[in-house]
């Protein structure tokens, strides 16, 4: 994330709109993706993530607006573009009885430029002992790893990953995240969509939040949190009868909510947590529990849209 970088963005989307009949899937969507970053388009199901991604991949044509990927028009120069990008589609399948190595071998034959070593790729993705297995007999995580392999076979400059970890168990999910970071380390740009805020937070350099087909905000996860959810929360438990009054007296504190012995203290500013700790020690308040609740993208989403991403 070098702010001095002057190179042209890898992906430029400006003002695209796409409707299906009367439904507006995507409207006035604009953003840029920089070279070498992991960019995430996040939002609930049906927000327009896949439509946006498929317009950028050249699979769909937007009704309005313009897109440029690696300097190419994705719709008019789709074959040129497909040589240089790697794609993983949401909920895609392969032939039930195609073997892992056959799929990799087929994909390798489809590109004009020399593909990378398929066997090594299978090794890196932990699929070597599955190379003779049929697609239908792979687990969800193995299928996704195969799709990653297919997306990387042509050594692409930009990799598109649509809802890569949906339906995977947490362990498989973490393994996939590691792989995606590995893709960035090879100097490639990654564009992904997800409705998992944790995934976006852990993986993405920058995210765009999309809802009802419109982009609400774009930034690094940290800056989004700082901008939209500057408040910090300390949750603690104490039996000290004077505690409530003392906490209320701290200048940075905005609210103190008490439920039995449990306190939830909200405040903002850099010094808030320090001040709370200071108050505890100064007044010798004994606590039996002390936790900081740091807002995350989930909270940002809630704040911006008024509902949770899972609703």
């Amino acid at each position: 994330m070098n702010s001095l970088r002057t190179s042209v963005p890898v992906i430029q989307v400006s003002g695209i709109r796409k409707t299906y009949g009367r439904t507006v899937a995507v409207d006035e969507v604009s953003f840029e993706v920089n070279d070498g970053e992991i960019f995430g388009l996040i939002g609930p199901n049906g927000a327009g993530k896949t439509t946006t991604m498929e317009c950028i991949e050249g699979i769909r044509k937007p009704d309005r607006g313009s897109i440029s990927v690696l300097g190419l028009d994705p719709f008019r120069q789709v074959y040129k573009l497909q040589e240089r990008i790697g794609v993983q589609l949401q909920q895609a399948q392969l032939q039930k009885r195609i073997k892992v190595w056959e799929a990799v071998d087929l994909w390798a034959s489809l590109y004009r430029k020399k593909s990378i070593d398929g066997e090594r790729l299978l090794e890196q993705l932990g699929l070597v002992d599955k190379r003779d297995a049929w697609f239908m007999n792979l687990s969800g995580g193995q299928k996704q790893r195969l799709f990653i392999a297919l997306a990387l076979i042509n050594d692409p400059e930009v990799v598109f990953l649509d809802e890569l970890t949906t339906g995977l168990d947490p362990q498989a999910r973490r393994a996939i995240w590691e792989l995606v970071r590995g893709i960035r380390e090879r100097g490639k740009t990654v564009f992904l969509t997800t409705h998992l805020m944790e995934e976006a937070e852990r993986l993405c350099d920058r995210v765009a939040i999309i809802e009802h087909g419109r982009i609400i905000d774009i930034d690094t996860p940290q800056r989004l949190v700082d901008r939209h959810c500057p408040e910090r929360i300390v949750a603690l438990a104490t039996a000290d009868p004077a505690a409530e009054e003392r906490f209320g007296a701290i200048p940075q504190v905005e609210s103190v909510v008490r439920s039995d012995l449990q306190f939830t203290i909200r405040g903002r500013g850099e010094d808030f947590v320090t001040e709370v700790i200071h108050c505890l020690s100064e007044n010798r308040i004994r606590v039996t529990d002390f936790r900081m609740i740091v807002p995350n993208l989930e909270d940002v989403f809630l704040k911006l849209t008024g509902h949770s991403i899972r609703d």
């Binding site: 991949e57 699979i59 074959y79 497909q82 040589e83 794609v87 589609l89 909920q91 895609a92 399948q93 392969l94 032939q95 039930k96 009885r97 195609i98 056959e102 071998d105 087929l106 994909w107 034959s109 489809l110 590109y111 004009r112 049929w134």
Partner: protein
């Protein structure tokens, strides 16, 4: 370059098809079985072969079996296309530099090869088990069958373009294709059908396929059948053009 992709995809499709538990038997075995079972039954019933029975054994049944070969190839194509569409396989293949026509051509080539292979099997089985020996210009007949299949495949493509889900693909395809055989002139000459059926028969590819295959089987030259070939080509062009318009990739 694209030829390499076409060849690879075709080869993989053949392998995938052969791995299917019922795929090979259902498509290859069924027409051959019909040919042999009906052939033996008919052969046994006519101790002193009447002219009609012998005509049926000599021409009718082999052509019927060949037509069944074509139809089961087409049904298999319709099913595969709709399964691939439903599973997102078509879309996934399309997101590569493969041209759409390459993806679909591979399927057609597989089905044509399958048709030829089944015909070969039928001829071999016929030599051994068929009640009477039949001599035909085999190369010419293979070509006639492939031309017919290609034309019927284009009808299959049109069906595959419109069927809503994979579950309906096979029954809808069967419901359209099998009745076409009934009015193809194979059982009753087209000229002796009621006028309405005659009109129907004249627009269906099966009718020309039967006329072409019967003719070549009996040893006719090609030129009197150029009308049949032309009709099959017209059906192919129309259906292909229509499917190109309405084909859904997902």
């Amino acid at each position: 370059m694209m030829l390499r992709g076409l060849w690879k995809l075709t080869w993989i499709e053949i392998k995938v098809f052969m791995r299917e538990p019922l795929g090979a038997f259902g498509t290859i075995g069924f027409p051959v079985l019909v040919f042999l079972v009906v052939g033996r039954a008919a052969g046994r019933n006519v101790a002193a072969p009447s002219l009609a029975a012998s005509g049926f054994l000599r021409v009718g049944l082999p052509v019927l079996a060949s037509l069944l070969i074509a139809v089961s190839s087409v049904l298999s194509l319709v099913t595969i296309i709709s399964i691939y569409r439903e599973g997102g396989i078509l879309k996934r293949l399309r997101a590569t530099p493969l041209r759409p026509q390459t993806i679909l051509s591979a399927q057609v080539i597989v089905k044509l090869m399958l048709t030829a292979a089944t015909l070969g099997l039928m001829v071999l089985a016929g030599k051994r088990y068929y009640p009477i020996s039949v001599h035909v210009p085999l190369f010419g007949f293979t070509i006639a069958l492939l031309i017919s299949t290609l034309s019927i495949l284009s009808v299959g493509f049109l069906i595959a373009s419109i069927v809503p889900t994979a579950r309906f693909a096979q029954p809808i395809g069967a419901a359209i294709l099998y009745p076409m055989i009934a009015v193809s002139g194979l059982f009753t000459p087209v000229n002796s059908m009621p006028p309405v059926l005659q009109a129907v028969a004249r627009v269906l590819p099966m009718t020309y396929a039967v006329s072409l295959m019967e003719g070549i089987w009996k040893g006719d030259a090609w030129w009197p059948h150029m009308g049949d070939v032309a009709a099959l080509a017209v059906v192919f062009v129309i259906c292909t053009a229509l499917s190109a318009k309405v084909f859904r990739w997902e």
